[in-house]
Protein backbone atom coordinates (compact mmCIF):
# COMPACT_ATOMS: atom_id res chain seq x y z
CA UNK A 1 0.00 0.00 0.00
CA UNK A 2 2.79 2.37 0.99
CA UNK A 3 4.56 2.05 -2.34
CA UNK A 4 1.33 2.72 -4.26
CA UNK A 5 0.87 5.85 -2.24
CA UNK A 6 4.44 6.89 -2.91
CA UNK A 7 3.92 6.39 -6.62
CA UNK A 8 0.79 8.53 -6.50
CA UNK A 9 2.64 11.30 -4.70
CA UNK A 10 5.47 11.09 -7.21
CA UNK A 11 3.02 11.21 -10.12
CA UNK A 12 1.28 14.24 -8.69
CA UNK A 13 4.60 16.03 -8.15
CA UNK A 14 5.80 15.23 -11.66
CA UNK A 15 2.48 16.20 -13.24
CA UNK A 16 2.33 19.53 -11.48
CA UNK A 17 5.96 20.57 -11.81
CA UNK A 18 5.53 22.05 -15.26
CA UNK A 19 2.28 23.96 -14.61
CA UNK A 20 3.66 25.31 -11.33
CA UNK A 21 6.75 26.60 -13.15
CA UNK A 22 4.90 27.87 -16.19
CA UNK A 23 2.22 29.77 -14.29
CA UNK A 24 4.36 32.30 -12.40
CA UNK A 25 7.25 32.51 -14.86
CA UNK A 26 5.41 32.53 -18.15
CA UNK A 27 1.64 32.93 -17.95
CA UNK A 28 1.62 35.67 -15.32
CA UNK A 29 4.16 37.93 -17.07
CA UNK A 30 2.38 37.31 -20.36
CA UNK A 31 -0.90 38.47 -18.84
CA UNK A 32 1.04 41.50 -17.58
CA UNK A 33 2.13 42.29 -21.15
CA UNK A 34 -1.46 41.90 -22.30
CA UNK A 35 -2.61 44.24 -19.56
CA UNK A 36 0.00 46.86 -20.54
CA UNK A 37 -1.20 46.78 -24.14
CA UNK A 38 -4.68 47.75 -22.95
CA UNK A 39 -3.78 50.18 -20.17
CA UNK A 40 -0.79 52.28 -21.27
CA UNK A 41 -0.65 55.20 -21.63
CA UNK A 42 -4.38 55.15 -20.87
CA UNK A 43 -7.01 52.37 -20.78
CA UNK A 44 -8.46 51.53 -24.17
CA UNK A 45 -7.81 49.84 -27.47
CA UNK A 46 -5.82 52.70 -29.04
CA UNK A 47 -2.60 50.63 -29.20
CA UNK A 48 -4.34 47.94 -31.23
CA UNK A 49 -6.02 50.52 -33.43
CA UNK A 50 -2.58 51.93 -34.22
CA UNK A 51 -1.29 48.42 -34.93
CA UNK A 52 -3.74 48.01 -37.82
CA UNK A 53 -3.97 51.61 -39.06
CA UNK A 54 -0.47 53.14 -38.80
CA UNK A 55 1.14 52.79 -42.23
CA UNK A 56 4.67 52.83 -40.79
CA UNK A 57 3.89 49.92 -38.49
CA UNK A 58 2.22 47.95 -41.27
CA UNK A 59 5.31 48.56 -43.40
CA UNK A 60 7.50 47.04 -40.69
CA UNK A 61 5.16 44.04 -40.44
CA UNK A 62 5.04 43.52 -44.21
CA UNK A 63 8.83 43.83 -44.48
CA UNK A 64 9.20 41.27 -41.69
CA UNK A 65 6.87 38.83 -43.44
CA UNK A 66 8.50 39.32 -46.83
CA UNK A 67 12.01 38.69 -45.48
CA UNK A 68 10.89 35.76 -43.33
CA UNK A 69 9.11 34.10 -46.27
CA UNK A 70 12.16 34.51 -48.48
CA UNK A 71 14.43 33.15 -45.75
CA UNK A 72 12.09 30.21 -45.16
CA UNK A 73 11.95 29.32 -48.83
CA UNK A 74 15.72 29.43 -49.37
CA UNK A 75 16.55 27.75 -46.06
CA UNK A 76 14.20 24.82 -46.56
CA UNK A 77 15.40 24.31 -50.13
CA UNK A 78 19.07 24.31 -49.08
CA UNK A 79 18.28 22.14 -46.08
CA UNK A 80 16.44 19.62 -48.25
CA UNK A 81 19.51 19.13 -50.43
CA UNK A 82 21.82 19.01 -47.43
CA UNK A 83 19.60 16.51 -45.63
CA UNK A 84 19.39 14.31 -48.71
CA UNK A 85 23.17 14.11 -49.00
CA UNK A 86 23.50 13.67 -45.27
CA UNK A 87 21.10 10.71 -45.17
CA UNK A 88 21.86 8.97 -48.46
CA UNK A 89 25.47 9.99 -49.18
CA UNK A 90 28.61 7.92 -48.88
CA UNK A 91 30.27 7.90 -45.43
CA UNK A 92 32.81 10.52 -46.54
CA UNK A 93 30.10 12.80 -47.89
CA UNK A 94 28.07 12.33 -44.70
CA UNK A 95 31.06 13.50 -42.67
CA UNK A 96 31.43 16.62 -44.80
CA UNK A 97 27.70 17.31 -44.46
CA UNK A 98 27.90 16.92 -40.69
CA UNK A 99 30.76 19.41 -40.51
CA UNK A 100 28.85 21.85 -42.74
CA UNK A 101 25.73 21.56 -40.60
CA UNK A 102 27.10 21.43 -37.08
CA UNK A 103 30.03 23.86 -37.11
CA UNK A 104 27.91 26.91 -38.00
CA UNK A 105 25.18 25.62 -35.68
CA UNK A 106 27.54 25.92 -32.71
CA UNK A 107 28.82 29.42 -33.46
CA UNK A 108 27.09 32.40 -31.84
CA UNK A 109 24.70 34.42 -33.98
CA UNK A 110 26.56 37.65 -33.22
CA UNK A 111 29.92 36.27 -34.33
CA UNK A 112 28.37 34.94 -37.52
CA UNK A 113 26.79 38.32 -38.31
CA UNK A 114 30.15 40.08 -37.92
CA UNK A 115 31.79 37.29 -39.89
CA UNK A 116 29.54 38.12 -42.82
CA UNK A 117 30.53 41.78 -42.56
CA UNK A 118 34.21 40.85 -42.77
CA UNK A 119 33.48 38.71 -45.82
CA UNK A 120 31.13 41.03 -47.67
CA UNK A 121 32.25 44.58 -46.90
CA UNK A 122 33.70 46.79 -49.62
CA UNK A 123 37.29 45.84 -48.78
CA UNK A 124 36.27 42.33 -47.75
CA UNK A 125 37.29 38.91 -48.99
CA UNK A 126 34.40 38.48 -51.43
CA UNK A 127 35.04 41.79 -53.17
CA UNK A 128 38.81 41.15 -53.21
CA UNK A 129 38.32 37.86 -55.03
CA UNK A 130 35.82 39.32 -57.50
CA UNK A 131 38.04 42.33 -58.21
CA UNK A 132 41.20 40.25 -58.51
CA UNK A 133 39.60 37.78 -60.90
CA UNK A 134 38.30 40.65 -63.02
CA UNK A 135 34.61 39.73 -62.68
CA UNK A 136 33.87 43.25 -61.47
CA UNK A 137 35.77 46.51 -61.77
CA UNK A 138 34.21 48.38 -58.81
CA UNK A 139 33.50 46.83 -55.41
CA UNK A 140 29.91 45.74 -54.86
CA UNK A 141 27.83 46.92 -51.93
CA UNK A 142 27.02 43.49 -50.58
CA UNK A 143 26.72 44.20 -46.90
CA UNK A 144 24.16 46.44 -45.15
CA UNK A 145 21.48 45.52 -47.65
CA UNK A 146 18.44 43.28 -47.61
CA UNK A 147 20.57 40.75 -49.48
CA UNK A 148 23.04 40.41 -46.60
CA UNK A 149 20.22 40.22 -44.04
CA UNK A 150 18.61 37.34 -45.93
CA UNK A 151 21.98 35.65 -46.37
CA UNK A 152 22.83 35.93 -42.68
CA UNK A 153 19.41 34.65 -41.63
CA UNK A 154 19.47 31.72 -44.06
CA UNK A 155 22.91 30.78 -42.81
CA UNK A 156 21.54 30.70 -39.28
CA UNK A 157 18.33 28.84 -40.08
CA UNK A 158 19.51 26.04 -42.40
CA UNK A 159 20.57 23.60 -39.65
CA UNK A 160 17.19 24.03 -37.94
CA UNK A 161 15.51 22.94 -41.17
CA UNK A 162 17.93 20.07 -41.79
CA UNK A 163 17.04 18.14 -38.64
CA UNK A 164 13.30 17.53 -39.24
CA UNK A 165 13.97 16.82 -42.93
CA UNK A 166 16.73 14.33 -42.21
CA UNK A 167 14.50 12.70 -39.62
CA UNK A 168 11.69 11.96 -42.14
CA UNK A 169 14.15 10.91 -44.84
CA UNK A 170 15.65 8.32 -42.49
CA UNK A 171 12.20 6.80 -41.96
CA UNK A 172 11.56 6.22 -45.64
CA UNK A 173 11.70 2.56 -46.54
CA UNK A 174 14.15 2.25 -49.49
CA UNK A 175 12.08 -0.68 -50.78
CA UNK A 176 9.30 1.72 -51.75
CA UNK A 177 11.65 3.66 -53.99
CA UNK A 178 13.05 0.46 -55.38
CA UNK A 179 9.53 -0.75 -56.11
CA UNK A 180 8.76 2.47 -57.98
CA UNK A 181 11.85 2.11 -60.17
CA UNK A 182 11.07 -1.59 -60.61
CA UNK A 183 7.63 -0.72 -61.95
CA UNK A 184 9.32 1.32 -64.66
CA UNK A 185 9.07 4.82 -63.19
CA UNK A 186 11.84 7.25 -64.08
CA UNK A 187 14.12 8.67 -61.39
CA UNK A 188 12.38 12.07 -61.44
CA UNK A 189 8.91 10.47 -61.40
CA UNK A 190 9.97 8.41 -58.38
CA UNK A 191 11.29 11.52 -56.66
CA UNK A 192 8.21 13.67 -57.22
CA UNK A 193 5.59 10.96 -56.71
CA UNK A 194 7.13 8.71 -54.08
CA UNK A 195 10.00 10.41 -52.26
CA UNK A 196 8.76 14.00 -52.02
CA UNK A 197 5.27 13.14 -50.66
CA UNK A 198 6.87 10.95 -48.02
CA UNK A 199 8.96 13.89 -46.79
CA UNK A 200 6.07 16.35 -46.78
CA UNK A 201 5.63 16.21 -43.01
CA UNK A 202 9.30 17.12 -42.59
CA UNK A 203 8.99 19.99 -45.05
CA UNK A 204 6.06 21.46 -43.16
CA UNK A 205 7.84 21.05 -39.84
CA UNK A 206 10.93 22.76 -41.28
CA UNK A 207 8.80 25.61 -42.66
CA UNK A 208 7.10 26.19 -39.31
CA UNK A 209 10.37 26.13 -37.39
CA UNK A 210 12.21 28.45 -39.78
CA UNK A 211 9.37 30.92 -40.28
CA UNK A 212 8.46 31.29 -36.62
CA UNK A 213 12.12 31.52 -35.62
CA UNK A 214 12.78 34.14 -38.32
CA UNK A 215 9.96 36.38 -37.10
CA UNK A 216 11.87 36.94 -33.87
CA UNK A 217 15.22 37.80 -35.48
CA UNK A 218 16.85 40.85 -34.01
CA UNK A 219 20.65 40.85 -34.10
CA UNK A 220 21.20 39.66 -37.66
CA UNK A 221 19.01 42.30 -39.36
CA UNK A 222 20.31 44.98 -37.00
CA UNK A 223 23.96 44.19 -37.74
CA UNK A 224 23.77 43.21 -41.41
CA UNK A 225 20.98 45.60 -42.45
CA UNK A 226 23.00 48.79 -41.98
CA UNK A 227 20.22 50.18 -39.80
CA UNK A 228 17.84 50.18 -42.76
CA UNK A 229 16.16 46.80 -42.26
CA UNK A 230 14.05 47.24 -39.12
CA UNK A 231 12.07 44.10 -38.42
CA UNK A 232 9.31 43.57 -35.90
CA UNK A 233 11.48 42.26 -33.03
CA UNK A 234 13.76 45.30 -33.19
CA UNK A 235 10.74 47.57 -33.55
CA UNK A 236 9.36 46.18 -30.28
CA UNK A 237 12.74 46.79 -28.64
CA UNK A 238 12.68 50.38 -29.89
CA UNK A 239 9.23 50.94 -28.39
CA UNK A 240 10.38 49.50 -25.07
CA UNK A 241 13.81 51.11 -24.68
CA UNK A 242 14.19 54.06 -27.05
CA UNK A 243 10.79 55.72 -27.18
CA UNK A 244 9.48 54.10 -23.96
CA UNK A 245 6.09 53.59 -25.53
CA UNK A 246 5.44 50.47 -23.47
CA UNK A 247 1.76 50.08 -24.20
CA UNK A 248 2.35 50.03 -27.94
CA UNK A 249 5.37 47.74 -27.59
CA UNK A 250 3.19 45.35 -25.62
CA UNK A 251 0.46 45.49 -28.26
CA UNK A 252 3.03 44.68 -30.96
CA UNK A 253 4.23 41.71 -28.89
CA UNK A 254 0.70 40.41 -28.42
CA UNK A 255 0.05 40.86 -32.15
CA UNK A 256 3.20 38.95 -33.08
CA UNK A 257 2.32 36.17 -30.64
CA UNK A 258 -1.17 35.92 -32.12
CA UNK A 259 0.19 35.72 -35.68
CA UNK A 260 2.65 32.99 -34.72
CA UNK A 261 -0.07 31.06 -32.89
CA UNK A 262 -2.50 31.26 -35.81
CA UNK A 263 0.11 30.23 -38.37
CA UNK A 264 1.31 27.34 -36.25
CA UNK A 265 -2.24 26.13 -35.60
CA UNK A 266 -3.06 26.27 -39.31
CA UNK A 267 0.01 24.35 -40.36
CA UNK A 268 -0.43 21.83 -37.56
CA UNK A 269 -3.90 21.12 -38.87
CA UNK A 270 -2.74 20.62 -42.43
CA UNK A 271 -0.06 18.10 -41.55
CA UNK A 272 0.06 16.47 -38.14
CA UNK A 273 3.64 16.95 -37.00
CA UNK A 274 3.16 14.40 -34.21
CA UNK A 275 3.69 11.82 -36.91
CA UNK A 276 7.30 12.95 -36.99
CA UNK A 277 8.01 11.61 -33.54
CA UNK A 278 7.04 8.02 -34.09
Amino acid sequence: MGSVRQTQVLQTVLLWTLPVLVLPFYIAPLLGVFEWSLSRPEPGLQNYVRLVTDGDVIAVLLRTFRICLLVTLISVLCAYLLAYHWVFGSPARRLIMEICIFIPFWISVLIRAFGWIVLLRTKGVANDILLFSGVISDPLYLVRTEFSVVLGMVHFMVPFAVFPLASVMRQIDPKILLASRGMGASASFTFFNAFLPLTLAGIVAAIIIVFVFSLGFFITPAVLGGGKIVMIAEYIYIQMFQTTNWGFGAALSVGLLAIVAILSALLFRVIRPERLVR
Partner: protein, 368 residues
Amino acid sequence: MNKDFKRDCVDLLRSKYEAGQLNRRTLLAGLTALGVSAVWRPGKAGAADQLVVVNWGGDAIPAYEQAFTKSFSTATGTTIQIDGSGPLEGSMKTQFESGSVRWDVCDAEPYSALRLGRAGMIEPIDYSIVDKSKIEPGFADEFSAPSYFYSHVIAYDATKFGAKPPSSWADFWDVEKYPGKRTLYKWMTGVLEAALLADGVDPAELYPLDVDRALAKIEGLKPHVASFWQSGAESQQLLRDGEVSMGFLWHTRASLTERDTEGDVRWTFDQGLVTPSGWTVIKNNPSGAKTAMEFIAHCQKPEYQVILLQELGNGPANPAAHALVPADFASVDASSKENFARQIAIQSEWYAEHFGGALDKYLALIGS
Protein backbone atom coordinates in the same frame (compact mmCIF):
# COMPACT_ATOMS: atom_id res chain seq x y z
CA MET B 1 20.69 52.03 22.88
CA ASN B 2 19.62 54.70 20.46
CA LYS B 3 19.15 53.34 16.97
CA ASP B 4 21.10 56.03 15.14
CA PHE B 5 23.92 55.81 17.58
CA LYS B 6 24.02 52.07 17.08
CA ARG B 7 24.27 52.61 13.36
CA ASP B 8 27.10 55.03 13.94
CA CYS B 9 28.94 52.41 16.00
CA VAL B 10 28.54 49.94 13.17
CA ASP B 11 29.85 52.51 10.75
CA LEU B 12 32.88 53.11 12.92
CA LEU B 13 33.57 49.41 13.20
CA ARG B 14 33.12 49.00 9.52
CA SER B 15 35.50 51.77 8.57
CA LYS B 16 38.10 50.44 11.02
CA TYR B 17 37.69 46.98 9.52
CA GLU B 18 38.02 48.31 6.01
CA ALA B 19 41.08 50.31 6.96
CA GLY B 20 42.65 47.13 8.29
CA GLN B 21 42.65 48.25 11.93
CA LEU B 22 40.32 45.47 13.05
CA ASN B 23 40.45 41.82 12.22
CA ARG B 24 37.36 39.97 11.15
CA ARG B 25 36.83 38.14 14.43
CA THR B 26 36.98 41.33 16.54
CA LEU B 27 34.66 43.01 14.11
CA LEU B 28 32.09 40.23 14.32
CA ALA B 29 32.35 40.22 18.11
CA GLY B 30 31.73 43.95 18.13
CA LEU B 31 28.77 43.61 15.80
CA THR B 32 27.30 40.83 17.92
CA ALA B 33 27.67 42.98 21.01
CA LEU B 34 25.67 45.66 19.23
CA GLY B 35 23.08 43.08 18.25
CA VAL B 36 23.38 43.83 14.57
CA SER B 37 25.47 40.98 13.25
CA ALA B 38 22.60 39.76 11.16
CA VAL B 39 22.18 43.11 9.50
CA TRP B 40 25.61 43.53 8.01
CA ARG B 41 28.43 41.13 7.37
CA PRO B 42 31.89 42.06 6.20
CA GLY B 43 32.68 41.18 2.63
CA LYS B 44 29.08 41.48 1.55
CA ALA B 45 28.71 45.17 1.05
CA GLY B 46 25.15 46.29 1.61
CA ALA B 47 23.41 48.66 -0.72
CA ALA B 48 24.23 51.67 1.41
CA ASP B 49 28.02 51.61 1.14
CA GLN B 50 28.18 50.81 -2.53
CA LEU B 51 27.40 53.33 -5.19
CA VAL B 52 26.38 52.02 -8.62
CA VAL B 53 27.35 54.33 -11.47
CA VAL B 54 25.88 53.43 -14.86
CA ASN B 55 27.46 54.39 -18.15
CA TRP B 56 27.64 53.01 -21.69
CA GLY B 57 30.42 50.46 -21.16
CA GLY B 58 33.56 49.68 -23.14
CA ASP B 59 36.49 52.06 -22.72
CA ALA B 60 34.28 54.32 -20.61
CA ILE B 61 34.53 51.93 -17.65
CA PRO B 62 38.31 52.21 -17.04
CA ALA B 63 38.15 55.90 -18.00
CA TYR B 64 35.49 56.65 -15.36
CA GLU B 65 37.54 54.75 -12.81
CA GLN B 66 40.55 56.93 -13.58
CA ALA B 67 38.64 60.17 -13.76
CA PHE B 68 35.93 59.92 -11.11
CA THR B 69 35.34 56.80 -9.08
CA LYS B 70 38.77 55.91 -7.61
CA SER B 71 39.19 59.36 -6.13
CA PHE B 72 35.62 59.30 -4.78
CA SER B 73 36.22 55.93 -3.09
CA THR B 74 39.43 57.19 -1.56
CA ALA B 75 37.82 60.36 -0.30
CA THR B 76 34.64 58.84 1.12
CA GLY B 77 35.28 55.14 1.66
CA THR B 78 32.34 54.34 -0.58
CA THR B 79 33.02 51.53 -2.98
CA ILE B 80 31.79 52.13 -6.49
CA GLN B 81 30.61 49.66 -9.03
CA ILE B 82 30.50 50.83 -12.64
CA ASP B 83 27.76 49.17 -14.63
CA GLY B 84 28.27 49.55 -18.37
CA SER B 85 24.87 48.32 -19.47
CA GLY B 86 23.71 51.75 -20.63
CA PRO B 87 21.01 53.86 -18.97
CA LEU B 88 18.52 53.88 -21.84
CA GLU B 89 15.29 55.69 -21.06
CA GLY B 90 13.36 52.39 -21.06
CA SER B 91 15.86 50.78 -18.70
CA MET B 92 15.67 53.65 -16.21
CA LYS B 93 11.87 53.57 -16.36
CA THR B 94 11.95 49.81 -15.74
CA GLN B 95 14.12 50.34 -12.65
CA PHE B 96 11.78 52.94 -11.24
CA GLU B 97 8.59 51.03 -11.94
CA SER B 98 9.91 47.72 -10.64
CA GLY B 99 10.20 49.36 -7.23
CA SER B 100 13.73 48.04 -6.73
CA VAL B 101 16.13 50.60 -8.16
CA ARG B 102 19.68 49.24 -8.40
CA TRP B 103 21.32 52.24 -10.08
CA ASP B 104 22.50 55.28 -8.16
CA VAL B 105 23.92 57.65 -10.76
CA CYS B 106 23.22 57.31 -14.47
CA ASP B 107 25.14 58.93 -17.30
CA ALA B 108 21.98 59.48 -19.35
CA GLU B 109 20.59 61.58 -22.19
CA PRO B 110 19.43 64.90 -20.71
CA TYR B 111 16.12 64.62 -22.57
CA SER B 112 15.47 61.17 -21.07
CA ALA B 113 16.07 62.69 -17.64
CA LEU B 114 13.65 65.50 -18.49
CA ARG B 115 10.94 63.16 -19.73
CA LEU B 116 11.18 60.74 -16.83
CA GLY B 117 11.66 63.61 -14.40
CA ARG B 118 8.40 65.20 -15.46
CA ALA B 119 6.73 61.84 -14.88
CA GLY B 120 8.06 61.96 -11.30
CA MET B 121 10.66 59.23 -11.70
CA ILE B 122 13.84 61.29 -11.37
CA GLU B 123 15.34 63.04 -8.35
CA PRO B 124 15.78 66.76 -9.14
CA ILE B 125 19.45 67.80 -9.02
CA ASP B 126 20.19 69.28 -5.60
CA TYR B 127 22.04 72.47 -6.51
CA SER B 128 22.93 73.06 -2.87
CA ILE B 129 25.33 70.10 -3.22
CA VAL B 130 26.08 70.22 -6.96
CA ASP B 131 27.75 73.55 -7.75
CA LYS B 132 25.91 75.41 -10.49
CA SER B 133 28.89 77.73 -11.03
CA LYS B 134 30.94 74.71 -12.10
CA ILE B 135 28.59 73.96 -15.00
CA GLU B 136 28.76 75.48 -18.48
CA PRO B 137 26.19 78.31 -18.29
CA GLY B 138 22.76 77.35 -19.58
CA PHE B 139 23.14 73.59 -19.14
CA ALA B 140 22.23 73.10 -15.47
CA ASP B 141 18.97 71.19 -15.99
CA GLU B 142 16.36 70.46 -13.38
CA PHE B 143 16.75 66.68 -13.61
CA SER B 144 20.31 66.22 -14.86
CA ALA B 145 23.68 67.92 -14.44
CA PRO B 146 26.19 67.76 -17.30
CA SER B 147 28.82 65.04 -16.90
CA TYR B 148 30.70 66.02 -20.06
CA PHE B 149 30.09 67.42 -23.55
CA TYR B 150 30.25 65.58 -26.84
CA SER B 151 29.46 66.55 -30.38
CA HIS B 152 28.00 65.14 -33.60
CA VAL B 153 30.46 66.11 -36.30
CA ILE B 154 31.39 65.69 -39.95
CA ALA B 155 34.20 63.16 -40.46
CA TYR B 156 35.59 62.65 -43.94
CA ASP B 157 38.07 60.77 -46.07
CA ALA B 158 40.99 63.20 -46.25
CA THR B 159 42.65 61.24 -49.04
CA LYS B 160 39.72 62.31 -51.24
CA PHE B 161 38.65 65.66 -49.80
CA GLY B 162 41.84 66.82 -48.06
CA ALA B 163 42.43 69.66 -50.50
CA LYS B 164 38.99 71.21 -50.01
CA PRO B 165 37.58 69.74 -46.82
CA PRO B 166 33.84 69.90 -46.07
CA SER B 167 32.88 72.42 -43.41
CA SER B 168 29.08 72.37 -43.27
CA TRP B 169 26.15 69.99 -43.42
CA ALA B 170 25.36 71.47 -46.83
CA ASP B 171 28.71 70.04 -47.95
CA PHE B 172 27.81 66.75 -46.32
CA TRP B 173 24.62 66.57 -48.38
CA ASP B 174 26.42 67.62 -51.57
CA VAL B 175 27.27 64.30 -53.23
CA GLU B 176 28.28 66.02 -56.48
CA LYS B 177 31.05 68.02 -54.90
CA TYR B 178 31.94 65.31 -52.38
CA PRO B 179 31.19 61.98 -54.06
CA GLY B 180 30.87 58.72 -52.14
CA LYS B 181 28.63 57.07 -49.60
CA ARG B 182 27.56 58.54 -46.26
CA THR B 183 26.69 57.21 -42.84
CA LEU B 184 24.16 58.71 -40.42
CA TYR B 185 23.16 57.89 -36.85
CA LYS B 186 20.31 55.39 -36.50
CA TRP B 187 19.00 56.81 -33.20
CA MET B 188 18.49 60.22 -34.80
CA THR B 189 19.86 62.63 -32.16
CA GLY B 190 21.38 65.51 -34.13
CA VAL B 191 20.52 64.13 -37.56
CA LEU B 192 17.38 66.25 -38.00
CA GLU B 193 19.38 69.35 -37.06
CA ALA B 194 22.07 68.46 -39.61
CA ALA B 195 19.45 67.98 -42.32
CA LEU B 196 17.80 71.34 -41.59
CA LEU B 197 21.14 73.16 -41.58
CA ALA B 198 21.95 71.51 -44.90
CA ASP B 199 18.61 72.73 -46.17
CA GLY B 200 19.56 76.30 -45.32
CA VAL B 201 17.83 76.85 -41.97
CA ASP B 202 19.49 79.54 -39.89
CA PRO B 203 21.22 77.96 -36.85
CA ALA B 204 19.52 80.47 -34.57
CA GLU B 205 16.08 79.44 -35.85
CA LEU B 206 16.63 75.69 -35.73
CA TYR B 207 14.19 75.00 -32.88
CA PRO B 208 11.46 73.91 -32.82
CA LEU B 209 12.67 71.44 -35.45
CA ASP B 210 10.61 71.13 -38.60
CA VAL B 211 10.54 67.33 -38.64
CA ASP B 212 8.85 66.91 -42.02
CA ARG B 213 11.27 69.26 -43.74
CA ALA B 214 14.23 67.47 -42.14
CA LEU B 215 12.90 64.07 -43.17
CA ALA B 216 12.41 65.24 -46.75
CA LYS B 217 16.04 66.37 -46.83
CA ILE B 218 17.19 63.01 -45.38
CA GLU B 219 15.08 61.16 -47.95
CA GLY B 220 17.03 62.95 -50.67
CA LEU B 221 20.34 61.74 -49.25
CA LYS B 222 19.11 58.23 -48.47
CA PRO B 223 20.25 56.55 -51.72
CA HIS B 224 23.78 57.62 -50.78
CA VAL B 225 23.63 56.43 -47.20
CA ALA B 226 25.46 53.10 -46.94
CA SER B 227 24.53 52.57 -43.33
CA PHE B 228 22.74 54.10 -40.40
CA TRP B 229 25.22 53.18 -37.67
CA GLN B 230 24.11 52.01 -34.28
CA SER B 231 27.37 51.77 -32.36
CA GLY B 232 30.38 54.06 -32.26
CA ALA B 233 32.65 51.20 -33.31
CA GLU B 234 30.53 50.63 -36.42
CA SER B 235 30.80 54.28 -37.45
CA GLN B 236 34.60 54.05 -37.17
CA GLN B 237 34.77 50.87 -39.22
CA LEU B 238 32.73 52.41 -42.04
CA LEU B 239 35.17 55.28 -42.46
CA ARG B 240 38.34 53.33 -41.76
CA ASP B 241 37.47 50.74 -44.40
CA GLY B 242 36.47 53.35 -46.92
CA GLU B 243 32.87 52.09 -47.11
CA VAL B 244 31.80 55.70 -46.79
CA SER B 245 33.61 58.89 -47.74
CA MET B 246 31.87 61.02 -45.12
CA GLY B 247 30.08 60.33 -41.89
CA PHE B 248 27.99 61.88 -39.15
CA LEU B 249 30.03 60.74 -36.14
CA TRP B 250 30.47 61.42 -32.46
CA HIS B 251 33.57 63.62 -32.22
CA THR B 252 35.17 61.11 -29.84
CA ARG B 253 34.93 58.36 -32.46
CA ALA B 254 35.98 60.71 -35.24
CA SER B 255 39.12 61.62 -33.32
CA LEU B 256 39.93 57.93 -32.66
CA THR B 257 39.48 57.17 -36.36
CA GLU B 258 41.80 60.03 -37.29
CA ARG B 259 44.43 58.57 -34.95
CA ASP B 260 43.94 54.99 -36.22
CA THR B 261 44.20 56.00 -39.87
CA GLU B 262 47.09 58.39 -39.22
CA GLY B 263 45.19 61.27 -40.68
CA ASP B 264 43.52 59.57 -43.65
CA VAL B 265 40.25 60.34 -41.92
CA ARG B 266 39.78 63.84 -40.57
CA TRP B 267 36.90 65.72 -38.98
CA THR B 268 35.76 69.20 -38.03
CA PHE B 269 33.87 70.92 -35.23
CA ASP B 270 32.34 73.28 -37.82
CA GLN B 271 28.54 73.05 -37.47
CA GLY B 272 29.01 70.23 -34.95
CA LEU B 273 25.92 69.53 -32.89
CA VAL B 274 27.08 69.66 -29.31
CA THR B 275 25.26 68.35 -26.26
CA PRO B 276 26.03 67.36 -22.69
CA SER B 277 25.47 63.94 -21.26
CA GLY B 278 23.65 64.25 -17.96
CA TRP B 279 24.23 62.78 -14.51
CA THR B 280 20.79 61.52 -13.56
CA VAL B 281 19.53 60.02 -10.30
CA ILE B 282 16.49 57.76 -10.34
CA LYS B 283 14.13 58.32 -7.40
CA ASN B 284 14.58 55.84 -4.53
CA ASN B 285 18.12 55.02 -5.62
CA PRO B 286 19.76 52.49 -3.24
CA SER B 287 22.42 54.79 -1.75
CA GLY B 288 20.07 57.71 -1.29
CA ALA B 289 19.88 60.96 -3.21
CA LYS B 290 22.42 62.77 -1.01
CA THR B 291 25.28 60.35 -1.70
CA ALA B 292 24.46 60.40 -5.39
CA MET B 293 24.52 64.20 -5.48
CA GLU B 294 27.82 64.20 -3.61
CA PHE B 295 29.25 61.93 -6.27
CA ILE B 296 28.06 64.29 -9.00
CA ALA B 297 29.60 67.24 -7.16
CA HIS B 298 32.85 65.27 -6.78
CA CYS B 299 33.06 64.79 -10.55
CA GLN B 300 32.87 68.54 -11.16
CA LYS B 301 36.49 69.04 -10.12
CA PRO B 302 38.39 70.42 -13.14
CA GLU B 303 41.29 67.96 -12.76
CA TYR B 304 38.95 64.96 -13.02
CA GLN B 305 37.19 66.45 -16.02
CA VAL B 306 40.52 66.82 -17.81
CA ILE B 307 41.36 63.17 -17.09
CA LEU B 308 38.12 62.15 -18.80
CA LEU B 309 39.00 64.32 -21.79
CA GLN B 310 42.40 62.67 -22.05
CA GLU B 311 41.00 59.15 -21.63
CA LEU B 312 37.89 59.39 -23.80
CA GLY B 313 37.93 62.74 -25.56
CA ASN B 314 34.83 63.95 -23.68
CA GLY B 315 34.75 67.72 -23.24
CA PRO B 316 34.67 69.12 -19.68
CA ALA B 317 31.35 70.19 -18.20
CA ASN B 318 33.08 72.62 -15.87
CA PRO B 319 34.32 75.70 -17.78
CA ALA B 320 37.21 76.09 -15.33
CA ALA B 321 38.69 72.84 -16.62
CA HIS B 322 39.60 74.18 -20.06
CA ALA B 323 42.53 76.16 -18.66
CA LEU B 324 44.09 72.86 -17.51
CA VAL B 325 43.69 71.07 -20.85
CA PRO B 326 47.11 70.18 -22.33
CA ALA B 327 47.82 71.83 -25.68
CA ASP B 328 47.64 68.61 -27.70
CA PHE B 329 44.10 67.95 -26.44
CA ALA B 330 42.76 71.45 -27.11
CA SER B 331 41.68 70.53 -30.64
CA VAL B 332 39.36 67.73 -29.40
CA ASP B 333 37.89 69.69 -26.47
CA ALA B 334 34.25 69.93 -27.57
CA SER B 335 33.25 72.49 -24.94
CA SER B 336 36.18 74.93 -25.02
CA LYS B 337 35.19 78.49 -25.81
CA GLU B 338 36.60 78.54 -29.33
CA ASN B 339 35.34 75.09 -30.31
CA PHE B 340 31.93 75.79 -28.77
CA ALA B 341 31.62 78.88 -30.93
CA ARG B 342 31.91 76.78 -34.10
CA GLN B 343 29.11 74.45 -33.02
CA ILE B 344 25.37 74.50 -32.36
CA ALA B 345 23.89 73.24 -29.09
CA ILE B 346 21.22 70.53 -29.21
CA GLN B 347 18.08 71.47 -27.25
CA SER B 348 17.11 68.70 -24.84
CA GLU B 349 13.80 70.42 -24.26
CA TRP B 350 12.69 69.74 -27.83
CA TYR B 351 13.74 66.10 -27.60
CA ALA B 352 11.94 65.61 -24.30
CA GLU B 353 8.69 66.54 -26.03
CA HIS B 354 9.12 65.09 -29.49
CA PHE B 355 11.79 62.36 -29.57
CA GLY B 356 9.49 59.31 -29.60
CA GLY B 357 7.18 60.47 -32.36
CA ALA B 358 9.99 61.84 -34.50
CA LEU B 359 12.07 58.67 -34.11
CA ASP B 360 9.14 56.52 -35.26
CA LYS B 361 8.86 58.65 -38.42
CA TYR B 362 12.62 58.70 -38.96
CA LEU B 363 12.94 54.91 -38.67
CA ALA B 364 9.98 54.44 -41.00
CA LEU B 365 11.79 56.61 -43.55
CA ILE B 366 15.20 54.94 -43.34
CA GLY B 367 13.63 51.47 -43.33
CA SER B 368 11.49 52.00 -46.39
